[in-house]
């Protein structure tokens, strides 16, 4: 048996999918469940090549409904478990994730967004924002990290296990097909070597002892009899979530302090935004960029502060306003003028953003 997937630190040039597989193993994941769908397939490909060396099993299920629910079972048994999916697979996994929300099951799901609606493209989009944040019949009791590069895919895959298990909230890493498939450099590391302690996992069922003899059995339910009973359960879920949200929320801002136009973007699109802001600054134009890293919980306070200072806001995304809806909700009552670049399923270049910002001045 090999010792650790990554010893110390290692510079690598890999695809995003490969980075996720390595990160899961570096995070000492116990088991992966999955079903093939492009563009996340290589997460499973690399996992199934690497994992047996560390005695970690993989189960290929019959569909994403099953991949989601087997992940739920693995987590409930006390094992650090995850799955990965995209597009229509993400749709099918919403059912199991609503169970995870209701029962506080610390699942980890990596999403590589593809085009939608329907089968659409296998390539790229940012159209799974609403679904990943608020899918299924629930209140969005989830943590969603939107990554922008391979280093973050690695960092946040590791972090997602700790967030999930520390707070007992289902956690998502939201990437996309571009991040999944392209190659770039990153530093992989053993979390321990960087002082990152993996949060201990523990069973929710299959507990030690004799149920009914020396302990009560774990009786875990998600069905309730009355409106009042459910209201209390959901109110507590929301209260708990809101209490820990400030600890979880993450964002980045860049040149926002004196900006006349602040570009709002998340995920891989924020790379075009950063590039655009650099170019605009070189040309003497005061532009800035704000990027939520967590889409759930959303960095309301941080965005409000940026919006208060900016003269104008530009929302840029590879979807028809899914991210903008989160922004609108967050900035309710703020009157800073806002413009948009919506390109569902299409990549966005820095030039497009530069031209739009110039037109807004």
């Amino acid at each position: 048996m090999a010792d650790k997937p990554i010893q110390g630190e290692k510079r690598m040039f890999v695809t995003g999918n490969e980075a996720v597989a390595y990160a899961a193993l570096a995070a000492n994941v116990d088991i992966m469940y999955g079903y093939p769908i492009t563009p996340q397939n290589e997460i499973m490909h690399y996992f199934t090549r690497l994992a047996p060396k560390f005695d970690k099993p993989f189960l290929q299920t019959e569909d994403e409904i099953s991949a989601g629910f087997t992940t739920v079972g693995g987590v409930m048994s006390g094992k650090r478990s995850f799955t990965a999916t995209a597009g229509p697979g993400n749709t099918l996994m919403q059912e199991s994730m609503s169970m995870a929300e209701m029962m506080r099951i610390p699942t980890v799901v990596v999403i590589m967004q593809r085009g939608g609606p329907s089968t659409a493209t296998v390539i790229y989009s940012q159209q799974e924002v609403t679904m990943t944040c608020y899918g299924a019949n629930g209140e969005g009791i989830r943590v969603v990290y939107s990554t922008c590069n391979h280093q973050e895919l690695y960092d946040y895959t590791i972090k997602s296990f700790n967030t999930a298990w520390k707070y007992r909230i289902p956690t998502f890493v939201l990437g996309d097909g571009y991040q999944a498939k392209m190659r770039e450099s990153l530093t992989m590391y053993d979390p321990e070597a960087r002082g990152i302690k993996m949060v201990d996992t523990y069973p929710l069922v299959g507990l030690p002892g004799s149920p009914g003899v020396d302990r009560d059995p774990a009786h875990l339910r998600n069905t309730y009899n009355t409106e009042e009973e459910l209201y209390e359960v959901v109110s507590n879920l929301v209260k708990d979530y809101e209490a820990v949200a400030p600890e979880i929320v993450e964002s980045e801002s860049f040149d926002c302090d004196d900006a006349e136009v602040v570009v709002l973007a998340h995920g891989v699109v924020s790379r075009a935004a950063v590039e655009a802001v650099r170019e605009l600054r070189k040309a003497g134009i005061k532009a800035g960029h704000f990027r939520p890293i967590t889409l759930r919980p959303f960095p309301d306070k941080e965005l409000k502060a940026v919006a208060n200072q900016a003269k104008k806001l530009l929302v840029v995304e590879s979807a028809q306003g899914q991210f903008a809806k989160l922004v609108h909700h967050s900035l309710y009552g703020d009157s800073t003028p806002m413009e948009y670049i919506f390109k569902p399923g299409l990549g966005i270049t820095s030039d497009e953003i530069i031209n739009k910002v110039k037109a807004m001045l």
Partner: protein, 253 residues
């Protein structure tokens, strides 16, 4: 001399007395099926290792039925949840409990694939020929001509197909190491033995185990005691043959 006027009902040891009387309707078959399961678990002495998953449908009412760790899952999704537990913790004895709607309709892909993969879990399915919890609609197992809320003039097999033969299907797609049987609440001794064999098959790490239990639903059948029993004992077995369909060969030595 004192006379005990109230007889204590004899319950399996692994039943949770605090949650009795149970939540099922009077005359419901679930109680008897779960009595057979409890007896089998008692006799095998595996209560400490059991993880029990129940489906949605009337089976959901069993979430606090036993003194073992239990998960109430979603309609049709108990098989994958329990599969996930077993794959992560093979030392546990994992049981998925569901009705005919959960197993043969909405969760049929999970049953088929768990059986095909020969998952080391025990799927126990109560067949009462209709959807009980939602008020008596037609199920995959509704008998030809049988009246339900969604087949008010009787099930037309030309239009809706024939009742699903679950154990026959599972037996056809599992390897020799699987255990597959159909029992009935009208023969609890036999049903208990079937469940013991099913559980033993998992304990031995052989393969998939599946037992369908014919069960009553007087509430939705709208039958009195005599008619209920007649339907379970006489009519259902004409279509759903009771007996073992697959018994793993004894290991040599």
């Amino acid at each position: 001399m004192t006379v005990t006027s109230v007889m204590e009902p004899k319950m399996p040891k692994c039943w949770r007395q605090e949650t009795k009387p149970h939540k099922f309707c009077p005359g419901c078959g679930h109680g008897d099926v779960l009595k057979a399961l409890g007896t089998a678990i008692d006799e095998l002495g595996i209560q400490d290792r059991v993880v029990f998953g129940c489906d949605i449908g009337c089976s959901l009412l069993s979430w606090d039925f036993f003194n073992f760790d239990s998960i109430q899952t979603h309609h049709g999704r108990t098989t994958p949840v329990i599969t996930g537990v077993k794959r992560a913790r093979p030392e546990l004895i994992c049981i998925a409990y569901m009705g005919d709607g959960g197993g043969y309709a909405i969760g049929s892909q999970h049953l088929v694939n768990a059986a095909s993969r020969n998952e080391r879990i025990f799927v126990l399915l109560a067949n009462n020929a209709q959807y009980g919890m939602t008020g008596g609609q037609m199920a995959p197992t509704t008998l030809p001509g049988m009246k339900t809320e969604t087949s008010p003039y009787g099930r037309d097999v030309e239009w809706t197909g024939n009742p699903t033969l679950g154990p026959e299907m599972v037996a056809a797609i599992t390897p020799d190491s699987a255990y597959v049987a159909r029992g009935t609440m009208s023969n609890l001794r036999q049903l208990t033995q079937m469940m013991k064999k099913a559980l033993q098959n998992q304990i031995d790490g052989n393969g998939f185990s599946f037992v369908e239990a014919l069960a009553s639903c007087p509430t939705n059948w709208r039958t009195n005691a005599a008619k209920t029993w007649e339907f379970v004992e006489k009519e259902m077995p004409q279509y759903f043959k009771v007996g073992e369909l697959k018994v793993p060969a004894k290991k040599e030595g």
